[in-house]
């Protein structure tokens, strides 16, 4: 068993929390739409079943990965984490620059309500449309959370528990907000979150690839700060380079 250094685990918890928050907000929007149009039994049943499967995946895959040599895990998982993080960061850059539209939870909610209202209501037993819609969105978004938790947990060397706690905290916060607001959580600055998470995951991925490949980082763990700063500065620079140029004209 690994001893958990909770001071060292802080960045892992933060990254897992923020990344999971983005995914849970997207799932919550659809689950709320299912509940509002088809009833809460099917909406919560489908989401609950998916959460159970996702928890099982973490419980089974997480410990299995810890049996593989750490350098191999760091190189393999680090590469996947880097691809995942840089994909998010690139998308966040393009959204911040106005090249692609921002994610709109209210519009997604309205679209889901309109789609789900087309099916006949079920008054007895389980509403299959509700269960499957809710199950599918929770699985689809939850798989990303599972990947982040397992990747952060395994590549960090025994940080599965802190990463899981970060994701669970995000689940509690998002469900709490959903219950309190009873509408999509559109007030969370989704692109800022994606930007931040993209920077964090890209930095962790780069660091672990270096560790796995046997490269020397200056200052060892402290070089993560340099990596965060480098990705953040480059991303800000990219936003300004990507912004469409407005040509000023005299009227």
């Amino acid at each position: 068993m690994f001893e958990i250094d909770w001071g060292h685990a802080g960045p892992t918890i933060l990254a897992a929390f923020l990344a999971s928050m983005v995914e849970f907000v997207e799932a919550l929007t659809v689950v709320l739409a299912v509940g509002a149009t088809r009833g809460w039994k099917g909406a919560l049943g489908g989401a609950g079943l998916a959460l159970l499967i996702l928890l099982l995946l973490v419980a089974v895959l997480g410990p299995v990965l810890t049996t593989i040599p750490l350098a191999t895990i760091q190189l393999g998982v680090g590469t996947l984490l880097l691809m995942f993080g840089m994909r998010w960061l690139r998308k966040a850059i393009l959204r911040a620059a106005g090249i692609i539209p921002l994610h709109d939870e209210e519009a997604l909610f309205a679209k889901e309500v309109a789609t789900l209202s087309r099916f006949a209501r079920v008054t007895q037993g389980w509403d299959k449309v509700a269960v499957m819609t809710s199950f599918k969105i929770t699985m689809v978004e939850g798989i990303e959370v599972v990947f982040i938790v397992i990747a952060m947990g395994a590549a960090g060397g025994g940080l599965l528990l802190p990463a899981s706690l970060g994701a669970l905290a995000a689940l509690v916060v998002v469900v709490g907000l959903g219950v309190a607001l009873a509408k999509p959580v559109s007030t969370i600055p989704e692109n800022t979150l994606k930007f931040t998470v993209g920077v964090l995951l890209s930095a962790f991925g780069t660091f672990w690839i270096g560790e796995g490949a046997g490269l020397d980082w200056p200052g060892e763990d402290w070089s993560l700060l340099l990596l965060f700063a480098g990705f953040l500065a480059s991303a800000f620079g990219a936003v300004s380079l990507c912004k469409p140029k407005t040509v000023g004209r005299a009227a």
Partner: protein, 69 residues
């Protein structure tokens, strides 16, 4: 089985949005992990080469996508 297909697509989509971008990252990581250690560069130089290359790939890909409109 539609949901299973969606999960499969989502799994691939976790890592690949733009194929050129994903391949560039993979190639650069492979070059840095396999070739750089053989060159005998001093101290932290290989790690910094890895990092700077990734920053270049990120900025270039975003700018290229933006110019496409």
């Amino acid at each position: 089985m539609g949901w299973l297909k969606a999960i499969g697509a989502e799994l691939l989509g976790l890592f690949v949005d733009d194929v050129g971008f994903a391949v560039s990252i993979l190639v650069w990581v492979a070059v840095c992990a396999v070739i750089l250690p053989l060159l005998g560069l001093p101290g932290a130089a290989p790690a910094l080469v890895l990092f700077l290359g990734l920053l270049g790939i990120l900025v270039e890909s975003a700018v290229r996508r933006a110019r496409k409109g």
